[in-house]
């Protein structure tokens, strides 16, 4: 891929002070807002997790009332998913997609800013629900009725409405991204020449537009059941609490891939750079991503194997779930094959990416274990599930985000980050992560249930280890903050392309990327 013209001029000037941020119509500024928002939510939800781990350091009740423990697990989940991981990926989409496809901005810059600023009232409602009488929602992030219908707290309504607002934000944002990708690519950038990160976001945006409205429907039914006398989830009125689980997970499973497909895109960008080879099997990566996305709509009930379903349904969902391992396996194979005989170097982004391939694969395999119906009936709602989805979501999504931050920091700030500190951050995070979550496989297999503030004595050692790991993991992220802030403030000047093997239009603009780029689209050959 090469560019024939790339003109950059910074003559428009741009607003300064607070107006630059609240009234922004610039994809880079809005991307920055998203990324910082996501980081603060990550730290906040992480602090909630440390509350959970502190309580579980020893058997017995130490700090938290059981009700408050449940509130912490609920908010930790909701905020990490909707406040940390998803906005981080949208932040990358904002910053990088226009640069990668050679266009000046997203298709609808004002709507883009609206998508961001809707996150703020949602966050206020979610976090504020802690402080209202009755307290925050305590029924888990999945909000299953009857608990979520019977809990009289206003905090539950605030969380439901917060999720409605986040849904609007996600749908508007996804329409924006999908339109940008379909309509605003530089001349010559055919679909099959797009960087893989753009492809994964195209498919993710489709998943969001298809699944978020279904969540809105589920939340609406929950709200009317709570306050307007409907009986959707009440068997006495002819409804069914399990109905909520079906509707919720029809959204929920695509949601899981919404949080992992962009991560696949990120590491598919990073690994070729540091292996100094083109991505192995580009086309198969695209097809695998699409296959994963389509399959995500027909696997939802594997989250509910123990809640009542005909055996034929259970078998269907077991086999369809297992099918997903095929396109996912294609991806893992391609990443490894990309590295095969490459001239590899191990800068921080590469370390994170390799760790993601390795650790995400562990999470994928434990997912395959959980897909097996008779096994899942044993393991449902144990710490094995907690271990599984943290290997997928932390070492899959969150660590790929961290790696990608290091990868593009030079482009964003114009400075190189401190490689030594970056590597420290990587090793501390990876080791602490494994100390935290690997023992959960054992406690889960031994039968320790999740979402309970106390546990039997035989689980004490593993829980103590997990808690120590969790605090190390949390504190390590302060180092991340330090490295990023230090890089923003200064550091060695970064070249337009600071990575020897990096390809793509984003590296043809100067570092830091000027306020406006590609106002005249480049031609891609």
């Amino acid at each position: 891929m090469s560019t024939t013209t790339a003109t950059h001029h910074d003559d428009h000037g741009h607003p300064t002070g607070i107006m630059r941020w609240v009234a922004s119509t610039n994809h880079k500024d809005i991307g920055t807002l998203y990324l910082w928002f996501s980081f603060f939510m990550f730290m906040f939800a992480g602090a909630l997790a440390l509350g959970i781990r502190a309580e579980l350091f020893q058997p017995g009740l130490q700090f938290l009332e059981p009700e408050n423990f449940n509130r912490l697990t609920t908010l930790h989940g909701l905020i990490m998913i909707f406040g940390a991981i998803m906005p981080a990926f949208v932040g990358f989409a904002n910053w990088m997609i226009p640069l990668m496809i050679g266009t000046s901005d997203l298709a609808f810059p004002r709507l883009n800013n609206m998508s961001f600023w809707l996150m703020v009232p949602a966050a206020i409602l979610l976090v504020g629900s802690i402080f209202v009488p009755g307290g925050a929602m305590a029924g888990g992030w999945t909000m299953y009725p009857p608990l979520s219908v019977q809990n009289p707290s206003m905090g539950v309504d605030m969380s439901i409405l917060a999720l409605h607002i986040l849904g609007v934000s996600s749908i508007v944002g996804s329409i924006n991204i999908i339109t940008t990708i379909l309509n605003m690519r530089a001349p010559g950038m055919t679909l099959m020449k797009m960087p893989l990160f753009v492809w994964t976001w195209l498919i993710t945006a489709f998943l969001l537009i298809a699944s978020m409205p279904v969540l809105a429907g589920a939340l609406t039914m929950l709200l009317t059941d709570r306050h307007f006398g409907t009986a959707f989830f009440d068997a006495a009125g002819g409804g069914d609490p399990v109905l909520f689980q079906h509707v919720f997970w029809f959204f929920g499973h695509p949601e899981v891939y919404i949080m992992i497909l962009p991560a696949f895109g990120l590491i598919s960008t990073i690994i070729p750079t540091f292996a100094r080879k083109p991505l192995f099997g580009y086309a198969s990566m695209v097809y695998a991503t699409a296959a994963i996305a389509l399959l995500s709509f027909v696997v939802w009930a594997h989250h509910m194997f123990t809640t009542g379903m005909p055996v034929a349904g259970q078998l269907f969902f077991m086999y369809s779930t297992m099918l997903i391992s095929i396109p996912t396996g294609v991806k893992v194979f391609n990443w490894v094959a990309t590295m095969w005989r490459g001239s590899m170097t191990f800068e921080t982004p590469m370390l994170f990416s390799i760790a993601v391939v390795f650790l995400f694969t562990i999470g994928g395999f434990s997912g395959l274990v959980l897909a097996v119906l008779p096994v899942d009936i044993q393991l449902q709602d144990t710490y094995y599930v907690v271990a599984h989805f943290h290997y997928v979501l932390f070492s899959g999504a969150a660590m790929s985000i961290m790696g990608a931050v290091y990868y593009w920091l030079p482009k964003w700030t114009g400075h190189m980050y401190n490689e030594t500190l970056g590597k420290w951050h990587f090793w501390l995070t990876t080791i602490a992560f494994n100390i935290t979550f690997f023992p959960m496989h054992f406690t889960g297999l031994a039968g320790m249930p999740r979402r309970i503030p106390d546990y039997a004595l035989q689980f004490a050692e593993f829980n103590m280890i997990s808690t120590i790991g969790a605090f190390a993991l949390g504190i390590s992220q302060l180092l991340f903050l330090y490295v990023v802030v230090k890089c923003i403030k200064g550091g060695p000047k970064a070249a337009a392309n600071p990575w020897e093997g990096a390809e793509g239009l984003e590296w043809t603009v100067p570092s830091p990327a000027p306020f406006h780029t590609f106002e005249t689209p480049p031609t891609v050959k």
Partner: protein, 276 residues
Amino acid sequence: MSQNTNNYYLPAPSLWPLIASIALFLMAGGFAMQMNDIASGNYVLLAGILVFVYLLYGWFKEVIKESISGFYNKQVDTSFRWGMGWFIFSEVMFFAGFFGALFYIRTFALDWISKSTLVWPNFVATWPTSGPAATEALEAMGPWGLPAINTLILLVSGATLTYAHWGLMKENRKQIIIGLALTIALGSIFLYLQAHEYAEAAFTMDSGIYGSTFYLFTGFHGLHVAMGTIMLAIILFRILKGHFSAHNHFGFEAVAWYWHFVDVVWLFLFVFVYWL
């Protein structure tokens, strides 16, 4: 900001997104308070709605001004088309979720409740039903009275809208205005009849699962018809102001797409909520 028609239009910094965020915050916060019997909730909700109406007015006014000033080139027009198309797809999924729920209830849930003989031994799964714990017989809404008339009304409104569109293509002002006015009138009659049906109904939202699905489905659909009718009225107003030409009228087309979508949803409602 200087514009030239070859480049994609980049709007100047705008406060509308922040106002949108304030509007939704007030609406959500006020609604949460109102549902929990906090008296001031109504005022907060009302304030939110007012800010929201102001937002729609102001933001669309700005976009229409930009459109008339010729800032939008062909590529921007294509973006609007993709954007509206995907928005309607999201709406389709919203209703699909509800219809999926209805299907699940009717096919599985009621059958299972009738088979669990311990709690409600006498319950037999039928449709419509207000559930095993209901004490009164349910008088459901039949399809062949008002609902059938409403179906006819919406189908005809689709035709009158297309008649208006043909007028627009020919730049026949009279035809556009007649077509649009008829469509708006039909939409309004539909809403009136729907309200009448609600007033006459022998059951309410808390009449078990039938009342729940009936009011939520028809309610959300009615809300969409109301939105569509307002949008059509705005388009008529813009026609009177001479905003559209035979070649440049995506605002009209977007509303027409939306109207046809609402139409199709009604057909599903008619079959699965009223009829079968």
